[in-house]
Amino acid sequence: MKAFWNLMIAEVKLYLREPVAAFFTIAYAPMMLILFGMIYGNKPEAIFGGLGTMDISVPSYIGLIIVTVGLISVPIDTATNRDKGILRRFRATPLHPEIYLAADVTGNYLMTLIGVLLLVVIGKLAYHIHFSGNWLSVFLGFTLSALAFYALGYLLAALAPTARIAQTVGMVLAFPMMFISGATIPIEVLPHGVRQAANFIPLTHVVTLMRGLWFGDPWSAHLIEVTILVGTLVVSSLLAAHLFRWE
């Protein structure tokens, strides 16, 4: 337990000392929100069923934070720890790999959570965004989505031979996802073809689930999203555990 806490605290400290990672996790989504808020405001729009742009942006941007941590931070940190021999050094101690993983996931989860809370608070204060869901459901949906994307991130780290490759592949996957999944630009304004293609992207399902739960959909309305995200979580975790190299 002592090892878990110390590792997690170290993880969070290291995150905050890396300005680029901290910026993209904590500040990027709120900044986008303010920027688009200045352009569109939050007046009711027919295309969003009477909700404002800010109302739907806040739950959507949760996906933006999740994909940043999952496909950029997790693979870069994990592959860097491997490349630099940090994981090797840990292996020469009695530290169990499961404790390392638990601390790493918790540290990343805390950072994601901080980013999301900041986003929601700014949305509430600046744009009085609507919320008609259940907080617990939103929290659970967020947690499932985050874990599924971390699992993808660990899989990417397991597959990439070096941290540089993990970084490149992570960014190549993350950036297009951000723009066609509805996590940045509302899915309603995207062309039909793009929306069709977006169905094959896991992030689209995160955005759909978060928006749905945010405005009070029951879980039964999102069985497809939940199935896809649970599947991503299980398959990626198993593959990552099987393929992961410590050095």
């Binding site: 110390n6 400290k13 021999g85 530290l95």
Partner: protein
């Protein structure tokens, strides 16, 4: 009592046989050195004993346990400085000590360890900002944080300048002074000579010799050399009559006298004084482990 027993250890990487059936024992309280050129199989051997690599054949017993099966339990009792290891650049020295201390059931007071290794002022410094020698000292401090019975040091001084290397040697003597057993690898023969009670010489995955450094050098029966530089001319004939002299050589200004025995140096000096010629740079050269390796393998240590 043997704390490490290695029987017929074998490890291959594809077609390459890194360690080819070696056997040896390490006794409690000794500094045991494994020497040999790069690629001889030293790191593979030490990492098999530490439980970080799985051997393809042979039996290893460390502190009465099997490193493959009892790894976690063994890691409570040993300390390891690895050849290739790192820490996050933005982790502070004190944070690294606290973090590693938390991995063990029992740990020593880490601040006094930092003090002992001259890193007390670096407690708040980032790992990435340390010099090579400071990083290496931190890694030894981390290896000692659980007060281990057995310490593994893999290529401890590679990449350090001579001064830092000598400082490191004092630290190793200090570890031995605390009654801990030390297993170290090095490709510096001088280091092995300075630090080790016993040395195993390994080449291409096989053991070529195992004994105390002094016995290895003695077994060579090698000659001492007395050398000096001479500007003028001098009859070299009298040197050949000094007891124990085997050969006298002059190459340009440099004269080298080969031989054995205690009287060699005093005999040469007496003749030089009687001849009353100006000479400089007089020194003796002892055979070293380097010569042992050359004699045993027919090759220089440095490839």
């Amino acid at each position: 009592m043997a704390v490490i027993q290695v029987e017929g250890l074998r490890k291959t990487y594809g077609d390459l046989v890194a360690v080819d059936g070696i056997s040896f024992q390490v006794q409690e309280g000794e500094v045991f050195g494994m020497v040999g050129p790069n690629g001889a199989g030293k790191t593979t051997t030490i990492e098999c004993i530490e439980g970080l690599r799985q051997p393809d054949g042979g039996v290893i017993t460390l502190l009465g346990m099997d490193p493959q099966k009892d790894g976690y339990q063994l890691h409570q009792r040993i300390g390891a400085q690895l050849q290739e290891a790192g820490l996050p650049d933005r982790l502070k020295v004190g944070e690294a000590m606290r973090l590693f201390a938390s991995f063990y059931r029992h740990s020593v007071e880490w601040r006094s360890l930092l003090e002992q290794f001259g890193l007390a002022e670096k407690e708040k410094a980032y790992f990435g900002g340390l010099s090579g020698g400071q990083k290496q000292r931190l890694f030894i401090a981390l290896a000692l944080i659980n007060n281990p019975e057995m310490v593994f040091l893999d290529e401890l001084t590679t990449g350090l300048d001579p001064q830092a290397r000598r400082a490191m040697w004092d630290l190793v003597r200090n570890i031995r002074g605390q009654g801990k057993t030390v297993f170290l690898t090095t490709h510096y023969m001088e280091e092995a000579e300075q630090l080790c009670d016993r040395v195993v010489v390994i080449d291409r995955g096989k053991i070529v010799a195992l004994d105390t450094p002094a016995a290895l050098i003695r077994s060579l029966g090698a000659e001492k050399r007395v050398a000096f530089t001479l500007s003028g001319s001098l009859d070299l004939q009298p040197f050949r009559r000094v007891p124990g002299v085997a050969k006298v050589e002059r190459i340009g200004e440099r004269v080298v006298i080969y031989g054995q025995g205690e009287k060699l140096l005093s005999g040469v000096v007496t003749i030089l004084e009687q001849a009353n010629v100006p000479f400089r740079d007089l020194h003796t050269e002892q055979p070293t482990l380097e010569d042992v390796f050359l004699a045993l393998t027919g090759r220089e240590m440095r490839d």
